[in-house]
């Protein structure tokens, strides 16, 4: 979606709050972060779905509410959409029904999360899962996409030409994961864009911006 989250290159945000060095300033932010992690197991949802839920917040809210409150509100959206909680329960905080957790069963305990956290997620597929359409050094152009859902090709590179800098291998595809359509494994590439091709002659002649882009986003230039 061409949403407010896609802000790369936008003007008007003022100076960077460089002095805001902290991760958490309130205890509730820690709880919100941990809740998003833990609820992902049982609701369930994946990271792309959580990101997309944040993107779907009203743009005025997206720009003005606390980062960790956005995480919590995204969880609430996903819980309601998954049917494990009702709008009324989420508004009042009072349980009115027990969700059918089905195959997911019990929520993970401390030992389980402690074991899984250092492992992370399985995001890649064997190299022979898909042939690459592009080779390193090839010029590519970002497709003029109009994805209504989650996508990871920012507007600022759309229709722009760059060069394949690295073939990263075969990865699950965020757009498909966010739709709940499975991994749609495909090559992902690091693509180098000349700053002037993105921002015009005012940009630095030798500046470059690198993005990791799935094959579905690219055409040969």
């Amino acid at each position: 979606m061409d949403g407010i989250h896609d802000m790369g290159g936008m003007h008007g945000f003022g100076r960077v709050p460089v002095e805001a060095e902290e991760v958490f300033t309130h205890e509730w932010q820690r709880r919100s972060f941990a809740l998003a992690d833990a609820l992902a197991w049982t609701v369930p949802f994946n990271a792309d779905q959580h990101r997309h839920a944040i993107e779907r917040l009203a743009p005025g809210d997206y720009l003005t509410i606390d980062y960790f409150e956005k995480w919590a509100r995204a969880c609430q959206m996903l819980m309601q959409e998954a049917g494990v909680a009702s709008a009324e329960e989420l508004a009042t905080g009072r349980k009115s029904f027990d969700p059918d957790l089905g195959e997911h069963g019990k929520p993970p305990d401390a030992a389980t999360v402690r074991r899984v956290m250092p492992r992370g997620a399985q995001l890649m597929f064997p190299p022979d899962t898909a042939e690459p359409a592009f080779r390193v050094g090839q010029r590519v152009r970002v497709r003029d996409m109009h994805v209504p859902g989650h996508t990871r090709a920012p507007r600022y590179v759309r229709l722009r030409e760059g060069v394949i800098e690295r073939d990263l291998g075969v990865f699950q595809f965020a757009d498909a994961m966010a739709r709940g359509d499975g991994p749609d494994p495909q090559h992902c590439y690091t693509v180098a864009f000349a700053a002037q091709d993105l921002w015009g002659a005012e940009a630095e002649p030798r500046g470059r911006v690198f993005l990791d882009l799935w094959e579905a986003y690219l055409d040969p230039a």
């Binding site: 989250h5 936008m10 980062y67 600022y156």
Partner: protein, 198 residues
């Protein structure tokens, strides 16, 4: 209270209550185990963070073979130090040199290499940083107090997929005699994001 939002935001006051209500509801509905929440917070606060990244950097400065490995296969070389997990499954390390300065961003959300840097600071998640560093990196770096020579090529890495980036800063002069622990103490988080030099 240096949040990335406006002082007049009324949501602030209620956020703690709302998140507590969400936790209590989630527990009541059997969706989360409160002890798991404690474990998650404790894990990320104690076992991830810039000290991990600093150890990686110090080893790369001290050991040319490790440095080569780190730049060639960041994921494996960082895993060798024991730093693995969510948001660090696939790592690339980009090296600052006299000619090239690297800086990391996630314009679309807040992707950041958790195992080696912990969770991102507020400024990294700010709209201003996300919007501007891809367009005018030199001006943004100057706001951090980092004035680069005009001849330096600036490379901006926008974390749009599953790779997470770490900047390998330049080793400060006059540190030949230092051991890895002493070197690691010189390495800052902003240095590993690319918004500071060391």
């Amino acid at each position: 209270m240096p949040h990335d939002h406006h002082d007049h935001d009324p949501l602030e006051e209620g956020a703690a209550l709302r998140v507590r209500a969400l936790e209590e509801l989630s527990v009541a509905k059997g969706l989360v185990d409160p002890a798991a929440l404690d474990a998650i917070v404790e894990y990320y606060e104690r076992e991830t963070g810039p000290r991990n990244g600093a150890a990686v950097v110090a080893r790369a400065w001290s050991d040319p073979a490790y440095r080569d490995w780190l730049l060639r296969d960041g994921t494996a070389a960082i895993a060798d130090m024991g730093f693995t997990g969510f948001q660090g499954e696939h790592m690339r390390v980009v090296e600052n040199t006299e000619e090239v300065h690297n800086v990391i961003v996630c314009t679309l959300c807040s992707c950041y290499p958790w195992p080696v840097l912990g969770l991102p600071p507020t400024w990294y998640k700010s709209a201003a940083y996300r919007a501007r560093v891809v367009r005018e990196p030199r001006a943004v770096l100057a706001e951090f107090g980092l004035e680069l020579p005009e001849t330096t090529e600036i490379r901006v890495w926008d974390s749009t997929a599953e790779i997470r980036y770490l900047v390998l800063p330049r080793r400060p002069a006059g540190t030949d005699a230092l051991d890895a622990d002493a070197l690691a103490a010189l390495v800052t988080r902003n240095g590993m994001v690319g918004t500071a030099a060391l």
